[in-house]
Symmetry: C2
Subunit: 374 residues, 2 copies
């Protein structure tokens, strides 16, 4: 089957681009001297995680326990669950640990430490715990200069039921940057905050085995990760229109696209309608801080070449409205034309689909089925 | 099980509110003298469609062929597929029609009429076709004052393979209104455009069996639908924070909410983190034309009462960041607290979940499994 024959909308993964992206980040981690623990939340797909580790099993990061279970069942036994967990789900973590998974959880509040310690004690297990540090994103994580992170680390280290796996941060504010140079500044900040915090703990006599950081923008821009032991980028497997905008990659690197069909054609208004709406592309607004009119993805020809002058101006549930600039209005896209749209945010768009169609050039060579739910 | 015991995030449907919403719209349609053909794209769930028809099978509107197949297999045999269809999918329509489903499709371009006629001819079937009219939303539909809609209707009416099912519109621009009075103006415009267009066709000698319109806002605001035969609201089964904002309903009418757990607590910053992110609530920005700071849903207590002063300020994939106003900062929401969030756009949030937990008060009494995919 050719990608032009797929029922639309379809999530297509370009195998050559995926392979290049995953090789590139593996080489980058090796050059920087850190372990790569890719965040699999972007794709949730074991085939892609294996590619991220050069065809082998390796350490991974997950965003849900459903991912942890799905990957563990395929042999991925070294897993960091990188979202602070709801207390009542600690028993599910314990179940995975009992089954042999080395599953680290993260904490940024003493109540969570107490809850985890209590379950570990009842279940007679040792659980690995990471202290999450806020390096400037201000979403989760302890204040690196406050006392609470140090106190939590000391409590974990002293616990009979918990192991301090390490310290961990995620510079999500790199997504607010205007380009690669600014991202490089955030990458240095991310590194400095987490290594200084690790040194604070060590100065207090706490053993800190691992120092973990990462996001795709900072992983792409980092030039020196001294003091860091691992990084956890995820989006780079696919990249997306947002990463293009902030300089992490080129449009030609984006490995996930949504194949759509033109189902409406209003040349006088410079408007097309495609059958990829909010349930295929997601309503992620993209890098509006760089281009308020960026629209909901980058429109490309079926062969993957970018199409200038077309913009996904709005999305409703199953309709995508594509507006053409005056210069692009002469181009004809009759009803039935196939287009590929590189989404703003590949993690959210990929999550809309039950399967990925894997393309070698324009041939569909496989279907990969990702994990879903929580 | 109680809703507070559900693993989070969970999509919870309040049965009492759902029943009231569906009864209310059924009575409204009866009072206005029109058939109700609810759009099931909001929930994609046969149990809810039955409630919409008072416990019986009835006519429905769908947004995907996957919905058409799922509902047809449960006995819903009178279906309008209300998205212009990709030409290569007409064979799937033919398959459903051959299986006994009265499946109407809509067109707004002569190329689509030609493609449908060609398949109908090859498959030796008669297909019902609606002419879609643009009543001001400017997404899809023919210009009601242009010649192309009339020409298409004439061609369909004269075809040996097609039946003109009727004319149809959707005033999606009602969502841009600032309140119920303005929506009422759009509702009258929606009615006027489609009935005048039907009369134009009739004056040209074309029989127009059905005149169909509808959106939840206009269905709620319409006072007179003379000349109209059916309406197709969908969102009203659940309503959502957007419908509250534009005056279609009250917060206490919203039947879908996402139960979330507090997984981060930063009282000094007035910030909570919950485990409902973009993959549970969707990134629909809500009624920002009315309140640019509306956030990504309305935060409620677990019992459903609205919580003032809390705002879902940002979403990443699995994190929801809730900011408290200074006045609300004294309230304590420790780690593990359960909250309910009424999403901005229930259709997109519902689509994030594989199942709905049906709640009678705080008891979970059923699980309903919606259709997914295309």
């Amino acid at each position: 089957m050719r990608i032009g024959d797929l029922p639309t909308p379809a999530a297509v993964v370009d195998l050559a681009r995926l392979t290049a992206n995953t090789s590139g980040m593996r080489e980058r981690a090796a050059r920087l001297g850190v372990r790569l623990r890719p965040h699999v939340k972007t794709h949730k797909c074991v085939e892609i995680a294996r590619l991220q580790h050069g065809g082998r099993i390796g350490p991974i990061t997950v965003s849900t326990l459903a991912e942890a279970r799905a990957f563990a069942s395929e042999g991925f036994a070294d897993v960091t669950y990188a979202v602070p967990l709801a207390p009542e789900r600690i028993v599910e973590v314990a179940r995975l640990v009992r089954a042999g998974v080395q599953l680290g959880v993260l904490v940024d509040h003493p109540d969570a430490v107490a809850a985890i310690e209590s379950v570990a004690s009842v279940e007679r297990l040792r659980l690995g715990v990471w202290v999450k540090v806020d390096s400037g994103y201000h979403r989760s994580g302890v204040d690196p200069e406050g006392s609470s992170g140090l106190e939590m680390a000391a409590r974990i280290a002293a616990s009979a039921h918990l192991d301090l796996a390490g310290v961990l941060t995620h510079a999500g504010h790199a997504y607010h940057c205007v380009g690669r140079e600014e991202v490089a500044v955030v990458a240095r900040q991310e590194r400095d905050v987490i290594t200084v915090f690790a040194d604070r703990l060590r100065a207090a006599g706490i053993v800190v085995p691992e120092v973990s950081l990462g996001s795709t923008p900072t992983a792409c821009a980092a030039d020196d990760l001294v003091g860091v032991t691992e990084m956890r980028p995820g989006n780079y497997a696919f990249y997306d229109a947002f990463q293009v905008a902030i300089g992490s990659c080129r449009l030609a690197d984006c490995a996930l696209s949504v194949v759509a069909t033109v189902i409406g054609c209003f040349p006088d208004a410079g408007r097309l309608v495609v059958d990829a709406g909010a349930l295929a592309l997601s309503k992620d607004p993209g890098a509006t801080h760089l281009d308020p009119g960026c629209g909901f993805g980058r429109v490309c020809e079926l062969d993957g070449r970018g199409l200038d002058g077309l913009r996904v101006a709005s999305l409703s549930q199953e309709h995508g409205v594509v507006m053409a600039t005056p210069a692009a209005r002469s181009a004809r896209f009759p009803i039935g034309t196939k287009l590929r749209i590189v989404p703003n945010h590949s993690c959210l768009s990929a999550a809309c689909f039950d399967r990925y169609r894997v393309a070698d050039g324009d041939r569909v060579v496989a279907e990969w089925w990702p994990a879903r739910g929580w």
